[in-house]
């Protein structure tokens, strides 16, 4: 199917079904229940899941396949966002030209940075990319304010000279982003008894694009090009002595992953037309590294899992405050309740960084292959019961 073998096709179908049903799957708890705190099925977070999924899928094409660890990919995401917002300001509120421009601009920018950075390898390459990204961030925050609007971030205003479309709507608001008239923020809410599910147009646009991006990434993984990238990671000496030039391959991978980042940035701006400089900071680049490794670098599905995991943490755990905690443990006697809250509180709410750091260490120490390896181990555990050790070396998924 679609030029994929059965195993990959199954994976793609599963991913497609999961993303399309996400509004149900992420809202498992009735909206009035105490556990509703853990629901993640609201448009903004679902959009973030898939957008960062795209970002991580792209990053994985570079890092997972070639092993080149870039610490500057957030710069491409940021550049993509800025291009998209400028497109909204100048051309039209339709997301298509904005997304196209952001991919193109990010591609060109990554071509430039990749061309220079790829002259070195190992940590020297990492530091070069880091240096470029930090430069972009520092400049975007201050000197380039006319283009980036600096600290505040680039936003739409009522005076934008939009060529195709109006500067302000009839009732004096800023027009919203749309796909040929379908507003990205329009949400269909389905109430089923105590449950409420939100179906957001923007989310579905992102989801469809993510499934496409995922499909593209499978194709790249399985293609001769993907094979060459894995060869680069495995043995560059043999690569050159087999008559292959590693440089254009790595550069192509760098640009492709830069374009994925630009796509993610463009989508982010399409969902919420703002581009802030912090998107380009080195910690943002670090975040995508964390996502990819947490999920499983070099695996197909890993980066998407990792992105979902970290965004869930950032958005759900950080909102649990002590009032919420007290309401959870209110069934306990007072002294015990306070003790439990005191013990739990450092790890959630404002302490979510601590939990993230700890979890991160655990994964790196015990599951070097990330969550995917965890899943495989569990699966093997179950399989061992009815299956003889047929578990042989599996080709990289």
């Amino acid at each position: 199917m679609f030029g994929l073998d059965k195993k990959d096709a199954t994976l793609l179908v599963i991913v497609a079904i999961l993303t399309l049903c996400a509004p149900f799957l992420l809202n498992p708890f009735p909206s009035e229940s105490a556990l509703a705190q853990f629901n993640a099925g609201y448009p903004d977070l679902m959009q973030r899941f898939v957008i960062f999924g795209i970002f991580a899928i792209g990053f994985n094409i570079l890092f997972g396949l070639t092993g080149y660890l870039s610490f500057g990919h957030a710069a491409f995401l940021g550049v993509g966002s800025y291009s998209a917002v400028w497109m909204f300001k100048l051309l039209s509120m339709n997301v298509i030209p904005a997304i196209i421009l952001s991919v193109v601009v990010a591609g060109l920018f990554s071509l430039l940075i990749g061309f220079i950075s790829l002259r070195r390898s190992g940590i020297y390459f990492s530091i070069l990319t880091l240096a470029f990204a930090q430069m972009s961030f520092n400049l975007a925050y201050s000197v380039l304010t006319p283009i980036t609007n600096g600290e505040t971030g680039l936003q739409l205003t009522l005076n934008d000279p939009r060529i195709l479309g109006q500067s302000a709507t009839a009732d004096g608001s800023i027009p919203v982003t749309s796909l040929f008239g379908l507003e990205m923020r329009s949400t269909y809410e389905l109430v089923m008894g105590p449950w409420a599910f939100q179906f957001n147009a923007g989310y579905y646009l992102c989801a469809v694009i993510m499934v496409l991006a995922f499909y593209m990434s499978i194709r790249i993984f399985r293609s001769p090009f993907g094979l060459m990238l894995r060869a680069i990671k495995s043995n560059q000496t043999r690569m050159s002595y087999t008559g292959l030039n590693p440089k254009p391959y790595t550069l192509a991978a760098f640009v492709i992953s830069g374009m994925y980042a630009g796509l993610a940035g463009g989508l982010m701006a399409s969902m919420d037309p703002l581009a802030g400089a912090e998107r380009m900071q080195w910690t943002a680049s670090g975040e995508v590294v964390l996502m990819t490794i947490l999920g499983g670098a070099g695996t197909l599905i890993g980066p998407v899992l990792g992105a979902g995991f970290i965004k869930y943490f950032e958005n759900i755990f950080s909102k649990i405050n002590d009032t919420v905690l007290h309401s959870w443990f209110s069934f306990m006697p007072d002294g015990l309740e306070n003790l439990v809250v005191m013990l739990v509180y450092p790890f959630i709410g404002k302490g979510w960084h601590l939990t993230l750091g700890l979890m991160f260490m655990m994964v790196v120490i015990f599951l070097p292959g990330g969550l995917v390896e965890g899943g495989q181990r569990i699966r093997r555990l179950f399989r061992r019961k009815d299956d003889t050790p047929a578990a042989k070396t599996e080709p990289a998924e």
Binding site: R219, I220, L227, A231, S240, G243, P248, I256, K392, T393
Partner: protein
């Protein structure tokens, strides 16, 4: 007659050390040419000059009439020179079949081709070629094994198979039997003989092991302290006094 590989007056210095001094070498097409010499004689340096890893200070290296100097390893490889390393250089994390596919693609598509859409195993012709190579190397049935998990002998055979898949005109072997048990060594000799018989190929081999050298070589060049000492047929080399002298004191 002009050989397929012509090395003329090649010099290479590392700081104060003369690694190669006026080396001249001519390898005739479709022959097996061995380069021998004691440790530190400059055999590996010479080899590295041939494949683009090192740049000689002076002199010229012509392959089939074209200079290889100043070219990168992958360009030289695309000219038709393949190299087998002392410790097998293969793609350990990839499966055996994937290892074999890479030289097949390199042969067909050149040093770079953006080939990102099709499935790598959709190229029936190349897959067939790769599988055929593996079969002829007695490695059928190991297609989906990770290359790193194979025995050393298998790794060596895989590496040679990968080089042959590129249909090189010159195969360079750098001590292919170093560290091998006697039985493996003999297998390798047989394999190389078979290759020699079946193909139009020139083989240049650097070797320490005289047993291998004398079983295979048609001509032998002896290097000592970076200089070519003698070049002759195996029969003549065997009793050559200079050679004995050069190897004197070397435990062998």
């Amino acid at each position: 007659m002009m050989g397929i590989l012509e090395v003329k007056n090649v010099n290479k210095r590392f700081g104060g050390l003369q690694a190669l001094g006026d080396v001249n070498l001519s390898v005739a097409e479709n022959s097996v040419h061995a380069i021998i010499g004691p440790n530190g004689a400059g055999k590996s340096t010479l080899l590295n000059c041939l494949v683009g890893k090192l740049m000689p200070d002076t002199g010229s290296v012509l392959f089939d009439g074209q200079s290889v100097l100043g070219r990168t390893p992958h360009e030289i490889n695309q000219m038709g020179i393949s190299r087998v390393f002392q410790t097998p250089e293969i793609f350990g994390e990839l499966t055996v079949l994937e290892n074999m596919m890479i030289p097949c693609f390199a042969k067909r598509d050149g040093s770079f081709r953006m080939h990102a859409i099709g499935h790598m195993f959709d190229e029936a012709e190349l897959v067939e070629k790769a599988e055929h190579m593996l079969e002829s190397m007695n490695m059928a049935g190991k297609h989906h094994m990770h290359a790193a998990a194979m025995s050393r002998g298998d790794k060596r055979r895989l590496e040679i198979a990968m080089c042959l898949a590129q249909e090189p005109r010159l195969l360079l072997l750098d001590e292919p039997t170093a560290g091998m048990a006697r039985a493996d060594t003999n297998n390798t000799i047989d394999l190389l003989k078979q290759i020699k018989d079946e193909r139009d190929i020139t083989i240049a081999i650097i070797e320490h092991d005289m047993h291998v050298v004398f079983s295979l070589a048609e001509r032998i060049t002896v290097l000592a302290q970076g200089m070519p000492l003698v070049e002759d047929t195996p029969e003549n080399i065997k009793g050559h006094p200079k050679v004995k002298e050069a190897y004197l004191g070397e435990a062998h």
